[in-house]
């Protein structure tokens, strides 16, 4: 069985502005020799603290950024060296959900147009009724009614916006969903709703998910496999219960020890 997505030795570095006018430019290696693999229908949780490179890795995987070195293969086909145009067919199959529900929807677009945008590009000839029906069906799948269609993002709460963003990601029927801290900006009670929605979608659609978070609790909740990132590298990876039950790397152990656990 080939993996739905497989990354080999990814490296991505940024050039930072130097100190002062004549200072030497520093290089920040955000992702440093990362390899990972995800089987279809499974969820991989990537956990790390700020600056660990987990968001850069997310953007590399969906092709929003190009790796300096290394390769990414989607369903066996190498995509990391494709030009933007050739990458577009793959876009339909890989989608992403972002952290900030207030920044991930165009404030000037009605919900129907935001959610339909991937559809409009993939199937430009679709007639209006069919388009609206598909948007409505996808919104229903994430728990929103048709009253949402003609409204603007600012009329929704953070949790509802995240549902809209998930609907937009799902409308072209992707096989892989990369979710970068999708519940971190949400209230506790809403966070649980979105987590369960992702679990349901994974089961109903056979969706493969890469779930990125700093929150060990939600990682453990959603993931089949876990990768722990520290300063651009994956320092430990394995099945979720093994990593949480018997962490091998000292950093994983430190993270788990610091995890805010309810004492009662």
């Amino acid at each position: 069985m080939t993996a739905i997505i497989a990354a080999r030795n990814l490296v991505r570095a940024y050039r930072l502005p130097g100190e002062g006018l004549l200072g030497r430019r520093r290089r920040l290696v955000a992702v440093d020799d990362v390899s990972l693999e995800l089987d279809e229908g499974k969820t991989l949780g990537i956990v790390g603290e700020s600056g660990s490179g987990k968001s850069t890795l997310a953007r590399l995987l969906v092709g929003l950024e190009r790796p300096d070195r290394g390769t990414i293969a989607f369903d066996g086909a190498t995509i990391s060296n494709l030009p933007e145009r050739a990458l577009r067919p793959y876009r339909r199959a890989m989608q992403m959900v972002f952290q900030d529900p207030f920044g991930s929807l165009d404030p000037r677009m009605r919900v129907i147009d935001s959610v339909a945008e991937p559809l409009d590009i993939a199937l430009p000839g679709l007639d209006r009724d069919a388009r609206e029906a598909r948007v409505a069906a996808t919104l229903a799948e994430v728990g929103l009614g048709t009253s949402a269609l003609r409204r603007y993002p600012h009329q929704f709460s953070g949790g509802q916006r995240q549902r809209i963003a998930i609907a937009r990601a799902l409308i072209t029927g992707p096989r892989l969903l990369v979710a970068d801290e999708p519940v971190s900006a949400l209230d506790v009670s809403i966070q649980a709703q979105i987590l369960n929605l992702l679990v349901d979608l994974k089961l109903a659609r056979g969706l493969s998910i890469i779930f990125i978070s700093h929150n060990l609790g939600v990682i453990r909740y959603l993931s089949d496999h876990v990768a722990v990132m520290l300063r651009g590298r994956i320092v430990e990876t394995g099945p979720t219960e093994r990593v949480f039950g018997a962490p091998e790397h000292p950093y994983t152990r430190a993270l788990i020890a610091a995890m805010p656990v309810l004492e009662r």
Binding site: E84, F98, G103, D106, E117, H154, A169
Partner: protein
């Protein structure tokens, strides 16, 4: 909409601007008198029932000249802002799209160079090169509006382009043209409109200045700036001759600046969210 009515500077600016536009439109079909007709017998008259705002040194009706002058001022504003907005937006978006590259640097440094000259001074430069005249003046003012709009468009576009919804659009398969037209332009349009109304006022003032110096609107077409300059000679005898065109210029500049201020507040999404 109700919020617009409660916003004092927007309200005053909108009413004054509408008044100026209305006077300009009415002047197309009707003026109290023929603004070009000279009347030697009625020179330098003070305001009266016959001549509402008096007459100038040739006996022309000042009220009528001001009305036709408003048309002139608005045309100048529209064309100059139009040139600045269209070219500025295009260059600004191009620079933003090429962010960090040589093209971006080249565009912005060129615009910085243009921007380094004060608008009236540079317009004088162009007009002396092309020769005086309304069209030349408007083009000059328009060209020197370009950097204002380009800088604003670039900065705002860069901010918008960093948002996640742009990333989402790219993931949706959207190409650069669609991203610019569907996402970036609508989201910076508010800012551009606000700046346009401010630049409108600047353009009116610049044209008045050029005409005052004899480099803009040529006689006999009425222009507020030239009326002011003509009035200078007779200032001591008939001060109202300078007061009325001066007031018209000041009022128009104030009107469009207030309108711009008000629009800025009303279009600010953070303030709008609170109202929603």
């Amino acid at each position: 909409m109700m919020r617009a009515l409660r916003h004092p500077s927007f309200l005053v600016g909108a009413v004054l601007s509408a008044l100026i536009v209305a006077l300009a439109l009415v002047s197309l079909v009707w003026t109290p008198a023929d603004p070009g007709r000279m009347n030697i017998l009625a020179r330098l008259r003070p305001p009266s029932a016959e001549f509402w705002l008096g007459t100038d040194q040739f006996g022309r009706d000042i009220a009528s000249m001001l009305m036709v002058g408003a048309r002139n001022a608005l045309t100048v504003g529209l064309v100059a802002v139009g040139i600045g907005l269209v070219l500025g937006l295009a260059l600004g978006l191009l620079a933003a799209r090429a962010d960090g590259t040589i093209l971006d640097a080249a565009i912005m440094r060129l615009l910085d160079f243009v921007f380094a000259f004060p608008i009236v001074l540079s317009a004088i430069l162009i007009v002396t090169l092309l020769g005086p005249g309304l069209v030349e003046a408007v083009v000059a003012i328009g060209l020197f509006n370009v950097p204002v709009f380009a800088r604003l468009a670039r900065g705002a576009a860069l901010q918008v382009m960093r948002r996640d919804y742009i990333r989402a659009a790219r993931l949706a398969g959207a190409g650069p043209a669609r991203i610019l037209l569907r996402h970036v332009v609508p989201n910076i349009a508010g800012l551009m409109i606000v700046q346009a109304s401010v630049q409108f006022a600047v353009a009116i003032l610049a044209e008045a200045s050029l005409s005052y110096l004899g480099l803009g609107t040529q006689p006999p077409a009425p222009s507020w700036g030239r009326m002011l300059s003509d009035a200078q000679t007779f200032m001591a005898r008939q001060p109202f001759l300078a007061i009325f065109p001066g007031a018209a210029i000041a009022l128009a500049v104030l009107a469009f600046n207030l309108l711009g201020d008000g629009l800025r507040d009303l279009l600010d999404p953070r303030l709008r969210e609170r109202g929603a």
